[in-house]
C-alpha cells in the first residue's frame, strides 16, 4: 500500500511538473514596460523632461552610474560638454592640458575618424533625435485617445510638449549639420530597429529644421524674464534665436546666405515680450543664480541638489580652475586644472574691458608653449558656482549654474553682423545693440563704436563677449578662417606657431564605427 502511494505520488509529481510549468516568460519589475508607462498621464511630461535633460545629465543616476550612451566615460559623454569641446578647443579660444583620449588632437585640429569625443557627440545628437521621435510617436492624438487621455488640459499640454520636443530635435539637428555636414535624417515616421538610415544632404536637413521651427514657433510655451513656469523650456524666443543662428550660417550649410532672415529672427528675439535685457552685471549670466538673469533665453538647467552631472557647468567651472587658484573662490570643492585661454583670445581684450576682470594671471604665462602645463595660458574662470552677489551655492561639488545656450547679447551680435553683411534691418539699431554690449563691458561709453565696424571686428567682439560659450568654431567657419592659414593661433595644425589645417577640417568626420554600422554613409572629404 505504502509502495503504491509512493509510486502514485511520484508519477503525479512528474506529470504535473512537466505539464504545468512550460512557460518561462517573466515580466520586468523595476522598470515599466512601454505598454504600461503611459497609463500614467504624468509620463508625458517625465519623458519630455528626459529629452531636455539629455543636454545636461548623462543618465538616470546622478551624477553617474546609469548612462544613456556607452563607449565613452559617462562624464565625458555629456551633451554640452562634448559640444563645448568641439566648439572651443580647436579654436583660438581654449586649450586643455589633459591627455584623455580624443582631447589632445582636438587642441591641435589633428583628430581622426576614431576620435572618441567626436564620436560621442555624434551619438549624443542622435540620442536626442531618437528620443524625440519616440516621444512624438507616443503622443499622437490617436495614442492619447487610445489610452483614454481626453482631459482637455492634458491634451493641450501634450500639444505644447510636442512642439518643445520638435524644437529640441531641431536644435540637435542644427548641431549635427554644423559639426558633421551630411548626416542621416530620421524622423518619427521611421520605425525603430529598422535598416540603417540613408545619408541626407546638409542643405536638406537645414531646410527641414527651418520648416520645423517655423511650424512650431507659435505652439511653444510663452516665456521670458521672470516667467519661472517656463524657465529652461523652449519658448518662441528660443525658436527665433535658433532660426537666427541657422540663417546667419545658411551660406555655410547651403551655399546660399540668408542674412535678411537672420536680421528678422534676431529682431523677433529682441522684440519678444516680456522683453529680454542685458543683465547689468555681466557675470550674473555665469553665476549660480543665473536663472534670475533677464538675458538668458534658453539654458541647460543644472541644480546642485537635483540635477547632477560631470558635464555641463560642473565641468566648465571645475576644469577652468587650476594652478594656484583657490577652488573655494569659485564655489567648488577642487580644481581640475583643465582649460585656459590661448594667447590669441587673451590679446583681444583691451584694458578697461570688464569682461576680462575675472582673468587669473598669478603664476600663469600668456603664451601656450606647453599644452600639458596649466601655467601656460591665462586662466579665465568665467563660470562660477557662487551667486552673483558672492553667496554660496547649494553644494561645492555639484553646481547650480545653468549652461547659457542662448542669450540676448548673442542676438544683438547676430543682428549687427547680419546687418553689416547686407541683411537689411536698421543700421542704427545694430549700432545701438553693439554699444549696449560695449557699455556694459566698460561700465561707460568710452569704448563705444562710433559707427558700425567692419565685419571682422564683430568676430573679435563675439570672442570677447561669448568666449567659452561654445559658439567659436561655428563663427570661425562662417568667417572662413577656421582651417585656413589666414588666421593662425597657437597649436593650430599641431605646431606651436600655428599652421593651416588639412582640407576638410571645417567638418568633423563621421565616426569610423558608424561607417561600419551604417554602410549607407559616405565619409566627409579629407578623412
Amino acid at each position: 500500500m505504502k509502495r503504491t502511494t509512493t509510486i502514485l505520488s511520484l508519477t503525479a509529481l512528474l506529470s504535473v511538473a512537466a505539464v504545468a510549468c512550460t512557460d518561462p516568460t517573466v515580466a520586468p519589475k523595476s522598470t515599466v514596460s512601454s505598454a504600461n508607462v503611459f497609463n500614467d498621464p504624468s509620463a508625458y511630461r517625465a519623458f519630455l523632461a528626459k529629452i531636455y535633460g539629455g543636454l545636461i545629465v548623462t543618465g538616470q543616476r546622478g551624477p553617474d552610474g546609469n548612462p544613456d550612451i556607452l563607449g565613452i566615460d559617462e562624464g565625458f559623454g555629456e551633451y554640452l560638454r562634448l559640444y563645448w569641446y568641439l566648439q572651443e578647443m580647436p579654436t583660438d579660444e581654449a586649450v586643455i592640458g589633459w591627455n584623455d583620449p580624443g582631447l589632445p588632437s582636438l587642441n591641435t585640429g589633428t583628430w581622426g575618424a576614431s576620435n572618441s569625443m567626436v564620436n560621442a557627440m555624434y551619438y549624443r545628437i542622435f540620442y536626442q533625435v531618437m528620443l524625440v521621435n519616440e516621444f512624438l510617436r507616443q503622443t499622437t492624438d490617436a495614442k492619447l485617445a487610445e489610452r483614454g487621455h481626453n482631459d482637455p488640459t492634458l491634451v493641450a499640454n501634450v500639444h505644447t510638449y510636442r512642439a518643445e520636443a520638435r524644437f529640441l530635435r531641431a536644435l540637435s539637428y542644427w548641431h549635427g549639420i554644423d559639426l558633421f555636414g551630411n548626416i542621416p535624417m530620421v524622423t518619427e515616421d521611421d520605425p525603430l530597429g529598422a535598416v540603417p538610415p540613408a545619408q541626407a544632404q546638409r542643405a536638406d536637413i537645414y531646410a527641414y529644421v527651418v520648416s520645423e521651427l517655423n511650424a512650431i514657433v507659435n505652439d511653444l510655451p510663452a516665456g521670458g524674464p521672470g516667467m519661472a513656469a517656463t524657465y529652461g523650456r523652449a519658448t518662441p524666443a528660443a525658436a527665433h534665436m535658433l532660426l537666427a543662428k541657422l540663417y546667419l550660417n545658411a551660406g555655410v550649410y547651403t551655399g546660399t546666405a540668408n542674412y535678411a532672415g537672420a536680421v528678422t529672427e534676431a529682431a523677433a528675439v529682441i522684440s519678444s515680450a516680456p522683453a529680454y535685457s542685458l543683465a547689468t552685471n555681466f557675470r550674473l549670466n555665469f553665476s549660480a543664480d543665473n536663472n534670475t538673469s533677464p538675458e538668458l533665453i534658453f539654458t541647460g538647467a543644472q541644480d546642485g541638489g537635483n540635477t547632477q552631472t560631470w558635464g555641463g557647468m560642473t565641468f566648465l567651472i571645475h576644469a577652468g580652475c587650476g594652478g594656484s587658484m583657490s577652488a573655494g573662490n569659485y564655489g567648488i570643492d577642487y580644481c581640475w586644472g583643465g582649460y585656459r585661454m590661448k594667447q590669441q583670445l587673451y590679446n583681444l581684450f583691451a584694458a578697461g574691458d570688464g569682461r576680462s576682470s575675472f582673468f587669473y594671471t598669478a603664476g600663469q604665462q600668456v603664451n601656450v608653449d606647453d599644452i600639458g602645463n596649466y601655467s601656460n595660458g591665462i586662466a579665465a574662470p568665467k563660470f562660477i558656482n557662487k551667486k552673483a552677489n558672492g553667496d554660496t551655492a547649494q553644494q561645492r561639488g555639484m553646481v547650480d549654474t545653468d549652461f547659457p545656450i542662448f542669450r540676448l547679447a548673442d542676438a544683438y551680435l547676430i543682428y549687427a553682423e547680419a546687418n553689416i553683411r547686407g541683411g537689411g534691418g536698421n543700421a542704427a539699431n545694430a549700432l545701438t545693440y553693439l554699444n549696449l554690449i560695449r557699455e556694459r563691458a566698460y561700465g561707460n561709453t568710452s569704448a563705444d563704436f562710433g559707427g558700425l565696424p567692419p565685419v571682422d571686428t564683430i568676430l573679435a567682439e563675439r570672442a570677447r563677449e561669448l568666449m567659452f560659450e561654445a559658439t567659436r568654431r561655428t563663427d570661425l567657419v562662417r568667417f572662413g578662417v577656421f582651417s585656413s592659414a589666414a588666421y593662425l593661433w597657437a597649436w593650430k595644425g599641431g605646431v606651436v606657431g600655428g599652421q593651416a589645417l588639412p582640407t576638410g577640417r571645417d567638418l568633423y568626420p563621421l565616426p569610423a564605427n558608424e561607417l561600419i554600422a551604417n554602410p549607407n554613409l559616405t565619409q566627409n572629404p579629407g578623412y
Partner: protein
C-alpha cells in the same frame, strides 16, 4: 507541445522495449549480487550473462536473470576495469538460484564511477572529455574557495584568482566563448545548479562559492567538452563543474574527523616605485616649484599598508553509515587575514548530508543542506592606489591634522594618505548563503532497470555590503565630503527536476542501452536595494548608521528569471568496446522574448575501445586505448535579465530635470533588440584515452574546436536606428581551438609498504581564441575595451575580427640603440611606428598586439608517500600570456610631479623611459608574463596515538614564481591589466587532522 516530445519520447521508448516475460522452454532464474572484492561494495552496471541472456546489475550490485534455459550454464560477470569472473551453475526449471561474485579491480582508473549529467558512468566508458579530481588529489594548504582545489589539476581549465583572500574567481574551460554573455562554467553542487556567472551566485564581493567549505568536498568533476556538458544545455557552452560533497556512506561506525590548521601569508612583490631619494631628485629636476613641499622623510607606503596575514581553520565532521543509511554532519570555521591591512574573511559553515534507503533499496532518499556565513572585510578601494602614489618623502602621522594622519594641504586632486584610509574608512560585507536539496530515486519492481528521480533544491543568498568614507579624509575633503554605500542584496532560487533513467536488463541488439529523460524547472528572484550618500553631515556613526547627507539616493532593482528544460539521453554500449551516446536538451529562458525563448541543443559522441579489439588485445602492456569523437551544440543565455524587453527607467533623486519651476523625475526608454536569442556554440572533440601496464601509465589527448555563433554582444549600432548607441544583439562569431594532454604515471609503486611511492601527473593545454567576425557586412570593425587607470576613458584592448578577444591595442614603441624607448612628443613618428604611413600618429596607428590569455598552460602534480610520510607539490607554467603594466604606465611619467595637484610618486620605469607626458598606448607597457610557479608543496606525517590516526602536515603555497614580468603578479586577472591589483601572497600552513 513540441517541447514535450523529447520527454514523452523517452518514456514511450522505454515502454516499447520493456521486457515481457515469456517462456517457450523450461527455464529458471539466476539471482545474485556482484561486489568489489576489495571494498565489498555492490557494483552497478556490471554485465552478467548466462544462457544467451545478459543483464546489468542495479545500483546495489544485485541482478536477476530470468528465463535461463534449464541445465548447466556458465554465468559471466564483466565490467570495465575489473577482471572477468565466471561461475558454472545448474539451472532447474522453475527454480531460482543464487550466484554472487566478487570482482577484482584490474585498472582502477577505468572503473571509477564518475558523476556526469543526470547520472553516473564508469570512467572507462565515458565518451566525452571528462576529468574527475578527488579529494586525495586536491591542492593542499590554505584553501578558501572550492575552485582553488583543482587549480592546475585539469587540462584546459584556467582558474584565475584575484589574490584577495577568498576573492572572486573566474574559471575558463577551453577559453572564452562569449563577449557580452558570461564565459564562466555552470556549477552543479550535489545536483543543484548554481545559476550563471562567476561562482554562480550572489555575494558581498568575494567568491559566491565560498559558502562551500572545501573540506566537505569529495570530488570535482569537470565536463570539458560540449558533448558531455550538453545535457545541461544552457550555459554548458562554457563547460560544467560538478561538485560532490562527502557523505557518510562507507562507514560502519560513527567517525569524527577533526582538522585544524594555521597559516601565515606574506607579500611576495609590491610595485616598483621610486624611493624617497629618487623621488626627491625627480621633483628637483621636473617640478622645482614643489621641492619646498617635500618633508624629507623616508616612508615606504607599502610597508605601511601590508602585513603578514595570519589565518586559522577548524573543521569538525561527524559521519556514520549503516546498511540503509548514512549521514555526515560538518562544521567549519575559517578566519584569514589578507596581506593588505583591513582585508579578511571570516567564515562559519555548516553542512549536512543524509542518505536513506527504503523498501529493499528500491527507494533511496538523500538530502544535502549547507549554509555559511561569511564576513568579508575589504581593503578600502583607494588604499593600493594611494600606496603607489603617495610621496615617499612625506610622513605617515600628523598630530595636528583632524585625522591624525599627514596629508597634502591642497584642494587639487592629489594622492592621499593610505594609512588614514585604512584606519578611518571601512568596507565590509556579509554573505549568508544556503544551498540544499532533497533527491529521491525510486526503482519500481515492475520494471527492472527503471529509476525515477526527483530533485528539489534551493539556493538562498543574502549579501550585505557597507562602504564608508568619513568626510574628514583628505580625498573626501577635496571631493565628495564623505560617502556611505549600503546594499542589502538577496537572491532566492529554486530548482525542481524529475527524470527517469532506464537500463533495460537485457541487451538490446548486441549491446546494452541506457536511457535518461527528464524535466527541469529553475526560477530565481533577486532584489538589489541600495542606498548611496555623499556629503555626510557626521562621521560619528561610522558604518553603523545612516547619517543625514547632502546627496542621498535610494534605488531598488528587482529581477526574475526562469529556465525550463526538457532533456533526454540514450547511451549504447557494445561489450565496452563500441560506445555511443546521443543527447538532446530543449531549454526555455525568460531572458528572451516568447518567440525566441526555446533553444534545442543536441549532442552525439562515440567511443571505440581499440584495446578490446582482437588485434590489440594481446599487445604487451596496453591496458586501455579508446578513441573518442563528439559533436555538440550548446547554448548560452548568461546575460542580464529583460534585455529584450522595451521598458522605461526612472531617474533617481540626483538626476531629476528642471522643467519650469519643478524638478521632474524623468523616464528613459530602453534600447533593446526584441529578437535576441540563444548564443550557440558548435563544438567538436576528438580524443584518445590510453593506458599501459594496468593503467600504471594513463592519460588522454584531446583536440577540440568550438565555434560560437550568434554571439550575444553589446555592440555599437547605427545612429538613428534605436534608442541608444549600443544594443545587446546576436552578432558575430568566435572560435576557440586547442589541444590538451594529460598523463598520469605511477612512477614508483612498491609492492611492499615502507618504500617510496610516487605518482606523477602532467597536464598541458593549448588554446587559441579568435574573434572571427563582428559585423557580417564588413571585413573590418573594432570595438575598444580594457579600461585603464590614468586619464579618463583610456582603452587599451580591442575586440577585432582575426585576433583573440581583448588583444592589446597599442602603438609600436621605437627604441634607441641602447634599447631605451624613444620619447619625442614634438615628432611622434620618432617615438612610435607610423603604421599607416600618413605622417601623423593617431588612433589609426595602434594595432592589436598579443593578448592576456595564456596560449599554453602546463601543470605538474606529484604525490608521494614513504612510510608515515606523504607529500606532494604542484607546478604551473603559463606561456604566451601578456599583461599591460598599468601601474607603470599611469605612474611612469614626470608630468605626474608637476600637475595642478601635489606630486605623485613615480614608477621606477620612468628612470628608463624618461617619459614626461604619460604614454598609455605604448607597447612598452605590454609585457610577456609567462611564468613558472610552484603553486603548492606539502608534506604530511601520519601517526597513531592511542589507536587513533593523526596526520600532521605543512604546506607552502606560491613557493616561488619565475617570471620576466616586472609588475606585482603575472596572473593579473582575466583581462590582463595590472592596475593596482592586490599583491600575491606566499602562504605557509601547518595543520593537524585526526579521526576518532
Amino acid at each position: 507541445m513540441r517541447r514535450l516530445m523529447s520527454y514523452l519520447g523517452a518514456i514511450l521508448l522505454m515502454c516499447g522495449i520493456a521486457p515481457a516475460t515469456y517462456a517457450q522452454q523450461p527455464t529458471g532464474t539466476i539471482r545474485g549480487r556482484i561486489t568489489d572484492n576489495a571494498t565489498q561494495q555492490g557494483l552497478p552496471g556490471v554485465s552478467v550473462a548466462a544462457g544467451g541472456r545478459s543483464v546489468l546489475t542495479q545500483a546495489d550490485g544485485r541482478y536477476v536473470i530470468a528465463g535461463v534455459p534449464a541445465g548447466a550454464q556458465t554465468v559471466r560477470a564483466k565490467t570495465i576495469g575489473y577482471g572477468q569472473a565466471t561461475s558454472d551453475v545448474v539451472v532447474t526449471a522453475g527454480q531460482e538460484l543464487v550466484a554472487d561474485f566478487a570482482l577484482t579491480a584490474t585498472a582502477v582508473t577505468l572503473s571509477e564511477v564518475v558523476v556526469t549529467g543526470y547520472g553516473e558512468q564508469r570512467a572507462g566508458n565515458i565518451t566525452g572529455a571528462v576529468t574527475a579530481v578527488t579529494d586525495s588529489q586536491f591542492n593542499q594548504g590554505r584553501v578558501i574557495s572550492p575552485q582553488m582545489l583543482i587549480q592546475n589539476k585539469v587540462p584546459g581549465v584556467q582558474v584565475v584568482d584575484n589574490n584577495d583572500p577568498g576573492g572572486g574567481l573566474s574559471v575558463r574551460i577551453r577559453g572564452a566563448t562569449s563577449v557580452t554573455a558570461s564565459s564562466e562554467p555552470l556549477y552543479i553542487v550535489d545536483g543543484v545548479p548554481m545559476g550563471t556567472g562567476a561562482g554562480g551566485g550572489l555575494s558581498a564581493g568575494r567568491d559566491p562559492l565560498n559558502f562551500l567549505n572545501p573540506k566537505d568536498i569529495e570530488s570535482i568533476t569537470v565536463l570539458r567538452d560540449a558533448s558531455s556538458a550538453a545535457i545541461y544545455g544552457s550555459n554548458a557552452a562554457n563547460g560544467v563543474v560538478i561538485i560532490k560533497t562527502k557523505s557518510g556512506k562507507g562507514h560502519s561506525r560513527p567517525v569524527l574527523e577533526m582538522n585544524t590548521n594555521a597559516s601565515a601569508s606574506t607579500v611576495t612583490k609590491v610595485p616598483n616605485m621610486l624611493n624617497a631619494t629618487q623621488f626627491a631628485d625627480a621633483v628637483a629636476t621636473h617640478a622645482p616649484a614643489r621641492v619646498d613641499s617635500l618633508l624629507g622623510q623616508n616612508t615606504n607606503w607599502f610597508d605601511e599598508v601590508d602585513r603578514t596575514g595570519y589565518g586559522q581553520e577548524y573543521d569538525l565532521a561527524l559521519s556514520n553509515g549503516g546498511e540503509n543509511m548514512g549521514y555526515r554532519l560538518s562544521l567549519g570555521y575559517q578566519k584569514q587575514n589578507g596581506i593588505i591591512r583591513a582585508s579578511s574573511i571570516d567564515r562559519l559553515s555548516l553542512g549536512l548530508n543524509y542518505e536513506q534507503s527504503l523498501f529493499n533499496d528500491r527507494l533511496s532518499l538523500s538530502t544535502n543542506v549547507r549554509g555559511a556565513r561569511s564576513v568579508d572585510r575589504f581593503t578600502p578601494g583607494d588604499v593600493l592606489g594611494n600606496a603607489v602614489g603617495m610621496a615617499p618623502t612625506q610622513p605617515v602621522l600628523d598630530p595636528t591634522s583632524s585625522t591624525g594622519y599627514w596629508d597634502w594641504h591642497t584642494t587639487n586632486a592629489s594622492p592621499s594618505n593610505p594609512v588614514a584610509s585604512l584606519a578611518l574608512a571601512s568596507d565590509e560585507g556579509t554573505t549568508w548563503r544556503s544551498v540544499g536539496n532533497i533527491q529521491a530515486a525510486y526503482r519500481p519492481p515492475w520494471v527492472e532497470g527503471l529509476t525515477a528521480n526527483l530533485n528539489m533544491g534551493y539556493d538562498l543568498t543574502k549579501a550585505d555590503r557597507t562602504t564608508f568614507y568619513p568626510n574628514n579624509l583628505a580625498a573626501q575633503v577635496r571631493q565628495g565630503q564623505g560617502s556611505l554605500y549600503l546594499a542589502n542584496n538577496s537572491q532566492g532560487s529554486s530548482v525542481l527536476e524529475t527524470y527517469v533513467g532506464y537500463n533495460p536488463q537485457r541487451s538490446v541488439g548486441p549491446g546494452v542501452l541506457d536511457l535518461t529523460g527528464g524535466y527541469s524547472y529553475q526560477q530565481s528572484h533577486a532584489e538589489y536595494p541600495e542606498l548611496r550618500e555623499r556629503g555626510l553631515t557626521s562621521n560619528l556613526l561610522g558604518d553603523n548608521g545612516i547619517p543625514p547627507a547632502t546627496n542621498v539616493t535610494n534605488t531598488k532593482n528587482v529581477t526574475d528569471f526562469k529556465l525550463i528544460s526538457f532533456f533526454g539521453r540514450a547511451g549504447y554500449n557494445i561489450s565496452d568496446r563500441y560506445l555511443a551516446s546521443v543527447s538532446v536538451r530543449r531549454d526555455g529562458s525568460s531572458r528572451f522574448a516568447p518567440s525566441h525563448q526555446w533553444g534545442t541543443f543536441p549532442a552525439v559522441s562515440l567511443g571505440w575501445r581499440l584495446s578490446e579489439e582482437s588485434f590489440l588485445r594481446g599487445m604487451a602492456g596496453l591496458s586501455d586505448l579508446k578513441l573518442r569523437a563528439s559533436w555538440a551544440q550548446t547554448g548560452n543565455q548568461a546575460i542580464g535579465d529583460y534585455l529584450y524587453y522595451p521598458t522605461y527607467t526612472f531617474s533617481d533623486a540626483l538626476s531629476k530635470v528642471q522643467f519650469g519651476g519643478n524638478f521632474i523625475t524623468t523616464i528613459r526608454p530602453s534600447a533593446v533588440d526584441p529578437d535576441i536569442h540563444w548564443e550557440k556554440t558548435n563544438a567538436y572533440d576528438v580524443g584518445l584515452d590510453y593506458g599501459f601496464n594496468g593503467q600504471r601509465l594513463s592519460g588522454s589527448v584531446d583536440w577540440y574546436t568550438k565555434n560560437t555563433s550568434d554571439l550575444l554582444f553589446n555592440i555599437p549600432i547605427a545612429a538613428g536606428t534605436n534608442l541608444g548607441n549600443f544594443v545587446t544583439t546576436n552578432i558575430g562569431s568566435m572560435k576557440n581551438h586547442g589541444i590538451e594532454f594529460a598523463l598520469d604515471y605511477k612512477l614508483l609503486q612498491p609492492k611492499t609498504s615502507g618504500k617510496l611511492n610516487w605518482d606523477l601527473g602532467f597536464t598541458a593545454s593549448y588554446n587559441k581564441n579568435e574573434l572571427t567576425d563582428i559585423n557580417p557586412n564588413k571585413s573590418v570593425s573594432r570595438i575598444l575595451t580594457g579600461n585603464i587607470s590614468g586619464g579618463v576613458g583610456n582603452l587599451v584592448e580591442v575586440l577585432q575580427p582575426g585576433v583573440p578577444i581583448n588583444s592589446f591595442f597599442v602603438f609600436e614603441q621605437r627604441y634607441d640603440a641602447q634599447g631605451k624607448p624613444i620619447y619625442d612628443v614634438t615628432t611622434p613618428t620618432n617615438m612610435y611606428v607610423d603604421q599607416n604611413g600618413d605622417g601623423i600618429i593617431n588612433d589609426s596607428d595602434r594595432r592589436p598586439f598579443h593578448d592576456p590569455t595564456p596560449k599554453w598552460i602546463l601543470g605538474h602534480s606529484s604525490y608521494f608517500s614513504l612510510g608515515k610520510f606523504d607529500g606532494g607539490f604542484t607546478l604551473r607554467a603559463y606561456l604566451g600570456n601578456w599583461v599591460y603594466n598599468n601601474v607603470a604606465s599611469a605612474n611612469g611619467a614626470y608630468q605626474n610631479l608637476s600637475g595642478s595637484g601635489m606630486p605623485s610618486n613615480l614608477h621606477a620605469s620612468v628612470l628608463t623611459t624618461g617619459f614626461v607626458v604619460p604614454q598609455y598606448y605604448s607597447d612598452y607597457y605590454v609585457e610577456d608574463a609567462s611564468f613558472l610557479r610552484m603553486d603548492n608543496v606539502s608534506l604530511g606525517y601520519s601517526f597513531d596515538l592511542k589507536g587513533q590516526p593523526f596526520r600532521l602536515y605543512g604546506a607552502v603555497q606560491n613557493a616561488f614564481t619565475l617570471t620576466g614580468y616586472d609588475g606585482v603578479d603575472p596572473t593579473a586577472g582575466l583581462n590582463g591589466i595590472d592596475n593596482n591589483i592586490y599583491p600575491r601572497s606566499r602562504t605557509f600552513t601547518t595543520g593537524l587532522s585526526a579521526r576518532f
